[in-house]
């Protein structure tokens, strides 16, 4: 049982909306959505948060943990305010994706999976985002896709971010 309440009422309401999409005995189907909602609210998923999501849905915590560890868009370690995910799968890598990644590493002074000391940026490697034609592509905080990310475009994007 989680000692404190981590999920806000709003988050709970949102999860309720997801739960309503499935039959009562299939509540676990809402696990992915619930984790997404929890992550948006808390930026990353602590074990306590995972346990609270499980309790809220009414399934075993390990079942939620399985989902949280399966998909790499779920973060189980602290991330910076802006999580930048670079696609480094083959089509992107061949059209500048690998270079975009290298440029970002150099510019931010961190490697993949690391966060800048000021907590502003986290850099991650991602899998194909289905946008190979727009390579190199980056995904910001799992939600907005940036395409044709040349060094100039990257500079411009980073400057916009707090």
């Amino acid at each position: 049982m989680a000692a404190t309440r981590l999920l806000s009422d709003d988050a709970r309401k949102e999860i309720d909306r997801e739960l309503a999409k499935y039959p009562a005995e299939q509540r676990r189907s809402a696990t992915m959505s619930a984790l997404r909602i929890a992550q948006v609210e808390h930026r990353w998923l602590t074990n306590e948060l995972i346990e609270e999501v499980a309790e809220y849905i009414g399934i075993a915590p390990v079942a939620v943990y399985e989902v949280a560890t399966f998909y790499n868009m779920f973060d189980r370690e602290p991330v910076g305010r802006h999580k930048i995910t670079v696609c480094t799968n083959l089509p992107c890598a061949l059209s500048g994706g690998a270079d975009a990644g290298k440029y970002l590493q150099q510019k931010l002074g961190i490697g993949y999976g690391e966060t800048t000391a000021d907590g502003r940026f986290t850099l991650k490697e991602g899998e194909c985002m289905g946008a190979c034609g727009y390579a190199p592509v980056l995904l910001m905080n799992n939600h907005s896709m940036c395409k044709h990310m040349t060094p100039e475009a990257i500079d411009k994007k980073l400057a916009e971010l707090e």
């Binding site: 074990n47 346990e51 399934i59 075993a60 915590p61 390990v62 079942a63 943990y65 399985e66 949280a68 560890t69 399966f70 998909y71």
Partner: protein, 769 residues
């Protein structure tokens, strides 16, 4: 029915069968790992690939439904190539550490690798290494060996009812584990050891103590709950090394509970007695059997001569065999005493039935009911495997309801749940009866007085489970049988059963609860309430095996003579005068009659330890020394055949001899809900170190109450409390239990910490500590 041909054999199978089912039905073996007949289909190991004519590629037999006219080849070139390919992949990351693996010699991967593996590996890269997990005191892990068949995960979710194990991670990073920091705490968890096809999950107590091929396998029957699970006891050098299930679909299926599996540790305990002991001048002296038995005979004769035959009494736990209990009763009858009792945890002996109380039907029929009501039971801990079977029944559509004194999660869906104070169980059942009479417009029988009974929505929900159902059952659990108003509770349950057309059943708390009644070893009632001059205790530790440990202890302490027959000395050393070492179930032949009235005889699996003797032989010698007639038995089988002569079924009955009047009573004040913890059931479970280290055992000595009661008593979750009943005092850790009624304080009995307390269902004083 569908026609199918497997390896040239033609057969017909019911629609919905898989190729695997069909193959099994004609004895064709298809190699497999993840498939298990009791678990859902995962089809993730791919070992079962077979060739199906007209299919372009091999198909997994476990997940391929049979279609009409299908032709399957399990050993064709295509099938074998596929199977060998799968095996090569499985072995890529497997450590191949068979020489140091406990599973070696009984490993499905090892066996199949012999058939389908290459003699050398083409894989030269690094293998993955997976850290081991702490799953608790029962299951040992070597996770690098795991082949991710997910049987263990599916077991916890589907059979045990709660997914304690999972497979976090993806691809190469997948690992079987619990949620961070948790152990596997199910009362039937040990079955994952049998299910694991490799050496990833093995028995912790057994670890590195013997090789599979060094062990002899002997059949036996579990001495714990009344299910009578069938066992394979594995033995080396006259020591029990390990216990495994013996499949019996009608009783335990292919499972056993953890106490069936791990209680054997007690058989090899340091506390085992090896020689008779006589106390002389307050000091224990070893003695030979002859002198010890003569001492007993003289002692008993003396006391009878001076105080009459009614001044002696015998008690036994229902872990004793049918033969032992019968001879004990005969011995006492020969001495002129009827004071023999095995219902040591009962508080009300007013119920007289027409036969031995039992489940009322077979286990298979019981779990095949469309609706079941369980009254007064910590079901998962009292009857772990019946709870499991009911869980499966609920999945298939059966309705399960409870009238109980706590709301412990049964890990299944309840259609009705009525929680009452332990001294209001009768009123709980009356409320359900009233709900039925109102809903159906029928009247309750005359001896059931419904005046003043309030019908709650919860009672209506329980009553509703019987609505429109054909095969229904009501069963009384241990909490019901230990209730101080058991006779009324039984009468109320019987009346309810009559009204709704249900079969009434009584669960058997111990392996031989039904057998004890058939042997005639019950009927004396509480022999400790009015202390006797002499006691004969068979496998009984008075403070741990009785409803009121304080009262029983006081009675034996004041007695002139106490004869303790048991396997362990520790408890009787303080108050006995003679201790006779007798065999536990593993060292004697005997019979247990299970909850469905089925006698199951077994042989000793090892020879008696030291000078230990089977109790039935001890009673035979005592009978002869006392010059009693009819003690000339040559074998335990002769005793059994005499006791069970005729139709056993005719001797079973839950019907009361005469109707017991039932009337609602009011109750108030703080009341104790006393129950026997799962691993305090009998002398074996109490002495099994691994069981005593489980979460269940560790939590047993907590005092539990709901939030309102805690507040009222000034207690807090995590704090301590002092409880008092009569002269007995205990200090216990406090925990919140939201499933209790108000003013109920749950304090388990028969624990070292609580043995000095009084009655199980009675007033209790609680203060902060």
């Amino acid at each position: 029915m569908l026609e199918i041909e497997i390896d040239g054999k033609k057969l017909t199978v019911p629609g919905g069968s898989t190729v695997m089912d069909a193959a099994h039905s004609v004895g064709v073996h298809i190699p497999h790992f993840c498939y298990h007949k009791k678990l859902s289909i995962a089809a993730n190991c791919r070992m079962c690939l077979v060739q199906v004519e007209k299919a372009p590629k091999p198909l997994p037999a476990c997940a391929t439904p049979v279609t009409d006219g299908m032709k399957v080849h399990t050993h064709s070139d295509m099938a074998v190539t596929a199977q060998k390919g799968v095996m090569e992949f499985l072995l890529i990351n497997h450590p191949l550490d068979c020489p140091i693996c406990d599973q070696g010699g009984e490993c499905q991967l090892q066996d199949l690798a012999v058939g389908y593996g290459g003699s050398a590996s083409r894989y030269e890269e690094e293998k993955r290494v997976v850290p081991n997990k702490n799953l608790g005191p029962l299951i040992s892990t070597d996770m690098t060996r795991c082949i991710h068949c997910s049987r263990c995960v599916r077991f916890t979710e589907e059979i045990a009812g709660y997914q304690e194990l999972g497979m976090p991670g993806r691809g190469e990073h997948t690992e079987v584990m619990t949620f961070i920091g948790k152990t596997v705490d199910s009362e039937i968890s040990g079955n994952v050891i049998d299910l694991c096809p490799v050496g990833a999950l093995t028995s912790k107590p057994f670890r590195y103590s013997a090789r599979a091929w060094e062990l002899s396998r002997r059949k036996s029957v579990s001495p714990h709950d009344g299910l009578g699970a069938n066992l394979v006891v594995q033995v080396k050098d006259h020591r029990v090394k390990r216990v495994l299930p013996l499949e019996n679909e009608a009783i335990n299926e292919c499972w056993i509970a953890d106490r069936d599996r791990f209680s054997y540790e007690a058989l090899n305990s340091e506390e085992r007695l090896t020689k008779p002991l006589i106390k002389q001048g307050g000091v224990w002296q070893e003695a030979d059997w002859q002198s010890a038995l003569e001492y007993v005979v003289h002692g008993l004769k003396d006391i009878i001569a001076n105080h009459g035959a009614d001044s002696i009494a015998a008690v036994a736990t229902e872990q004793a065999t049918l033969e032992e209990l019968y001879l004990l009763k005969q011995l006492f009858a020969g001495l002129g005493s009827q004071n023999v009792e095995t219902r040591l945890r009962a508080a009300d002996f007013g119920l007289k039935t027409q036969g031995a109380t039992w489940l009322g039907q077979s286990i298979v029929d019981f779990v095949g009911s469309d609706a079941v009501l369980v009254v007064g039971s910590t079901l998962r801990k009292e009857q772990p495997l019946i709870a499991q079977r009911l869980r499966q029944a609920v999945k298939k559509g059966a309705k399960l309801a409870i009238v109980n004194s706590h709301g412990d999660d049964l890990l299944t869906t309840l259609a009705g749940e009525l929680i009452v104070r332990p001294d209001q169980l009768v009123e709980g059942v009356l409320a359900v009866i009233k709900a039925v009479t109102e809903a159906r417009g029928v009247a309750a029988p005359a001896h059931i007085d419904l005046a003043g009974v309030e019908v709650t929505d919860a009672a209506r929900a329980v009553a509703a489970v019987f609505e429109g159902k054909d095969k229904t059952s009501i069963a009384l659990g241990n909490l019901a049988q230990q209730n101080p108003r058991y006779a009324e509770l039984h009468a109320a349950a019987a009346a309810l059963a009559e009204l709704v057309g249900a079969k009434l059943g009584v669960f058997a708390a111990a392996a031989n609860s039904v057998g004890a009644q058939l042997a005639g070893a019950t009927g004396a009632g509480n022999v400790f309430a009015q202390p006797k001059k002499a006691y004969v205790l068979l496998n009984t530790e008075v403070e741990f095996d009785t409803a009121n440990g304080a009262e029983a202890l006081a009675a034996v302490q004041q007695a002139d003579m106490v004869v303790a027959l048991g396997s362990f000395g520790s408890c009787a050393l303080e108050h006995a005068d003679v201790i006779l070492p007798v065999s536990p179930f593993s060292e004697t032949s005997g019979t247990f009659v299970n909850v469905e009235g089925k006698p199951q005889s077994f042989n000793g699996v090892v020879r008696p330890l030291g000078e230990t003797r089977p109790a039935w032989k001890v009673f035979r010698v005592l009978g002869n020394l006392l010059g009693l007639e009819n003690f000339g038995f040559n074998s335990s089988e002769e005793v059994r055949d005499l006791v069970l002569a005729g139709d056993v079924a005719a001797k079973l009955s839950n019907a009361a001899v005469a109707p017991v009047a039932v009337k609602a009573q009011a109750a108030s004040g703080v009341v104790r809900l006393g129950e026997v913890p799962i691993y305090q059931l009998d002398m074996l479970t109490r002495r099994a170190p691994a069981l005593q280290a489980t979460a269940d055992a560790l939590a047993a000595s907590q005092l539990k109450a709901n939030a309102a009661t805690l507040a009222k008593l000034g207690l807090a979750h995590g704090g301590n409390a002092q409880v008092k009943q009569g002269a007995g005092v205990a200090t216990l850790a406090v925990a919140l239990d939201a499933g209790l009624a108000d003013d109920v304080v749950r304090v388990a009995a028969n624990l070292p910490a609580t043995r000095a307390l009084g009655a199980l269902t009675a007033a209790i004083e609680v203060t902060q500590a």
